[in-house]
Symmetry: C2
Subunit: 218 residues, 2 copies
Amino acid sequence: MARFKVSYAPSVRRLPSYLLLAKQAQDHGDEYISGTMIAIELNLEPIQVRKDLSITGIVGKPKRGYPVGPLIAAIESYLNWDTRVDAVVVGAGNLGSALTGFPGFKQHGLHIVAGFDADPEKVGATIYDTPIYAMDKLDERVQSLGVTVAVLTVPSAYAQDIATRLVAAGITAIWNFTNVKLKVPDEVIVQNEDLSSGYAMLSIKRHLRSLMKTADAE
Amino acid sequence: MARFKVSYAPSVRRLPSYLLLAKQAQDHGDEYISGTMIAIELNLEPIQVRKDLSITGIVGKPKRGYPVGPLIAAIESYLNWDTRVDAVVVGAGNLGSALTGFPGFKQHGLHIVAGFDADPEKVGATIYDTPIYAMDKLDERVQSLGVTVAVLTVPSAYAQDIATRLVAAGITAIWNFTNVKLKVPDEVIVQNEDLSSGYAMLSIKRHLRSLMKTADAE
DNA sequence: TAGATTGTTAATCGATTAACAATC
DNA sequence: TAGATTGTTAATCGATTAACAATC
């Protein structure tokens, strides 16, 4: 179960926020955006922004910053967000629907071309123009669509079984929103999106703040 | 805009997955769970699990592992997940509804006591027993409920305005699911949940794999 | 007892930050 | 030109991993 170890993972995770700012600068008609400006906007160190951007190969101009168009192109190319990628959503509940409808993903090349749900009420309907199919159509549809990316938003109890089916049908990358540690073959990519760890961070920060307040009062 | 810098943030983020395994062990009737077992299950190094768990103060038993009950208690206490925390959801769309209905959060002490939405269709209804109010009731309701935590799932365009209103109404911690870098006073905690960065990681892993396959073929 | 596992101390690794020359 | 900003090289910092004694 070796996985694809990403170098510069923290930098990669910050790139989308740089991309957003670059796009805003573009909309605003700016020709250049400096690392310093990005850093101020995002509350980061300028050197960190420059270091992060360097992995995309973008070259800036002293005194001006980075040319906005090429910067956007460089980040999108580095992330492969300038190529269309088709995906299916499995589990068309609220979370699955939210992800299907989120316009940001399509902008990043991710097209949700089908959804699947166990609820007969949902089958046959569309969610933001995406058709929803019954779960027993999963294998056939994934194969015929030739889709290789799946977004998994089913109840934990079904996660492993469905993941296994997805892989059998040809899925090679799973964006996993369940808290189940999926067991899949080595060559299949799993990107876990764990909301609990985000909540753990929020909780710790609140705790930390309360400790600081107590200390202040002394 | 200094923020609460969390020491051991990576460890904190892993704690919820350890907690889940400990609870599963408990359901299974196990008395002990070893760091080695947890590591195998989660594809981590045993030493990392031990190091992470040590921050909670739990003490294990050589040859046996960690006592399951006390381990659960130690993690929950460290994360403050054994205390009830009330919160409101702002934006009762699909994402807000998903988070409101997610049973995991209530298990971790987070109770969504009210939701707010701009859509008149939703106002007056309930989502998983949580009442939805109109946006103009936000300030009054937050204050009268005495809630200090808010989950923000509104369209980006409204995020900053609403955050400002939330803070004015007494909110001191915001779980931010928008891609807007919120400007709030120093003492207000913002936990950003950025789905784009997760998708960036998935994209890079796919790219990395395709590079490796090309290399293999040579 | 023997051996698996914990917990501590030290070493390594990688990410962040600092310093500064290059340059537009 | 003067000075802000880039990009590189080096230093620092923090997280992960290794080594190993303690122990049940």
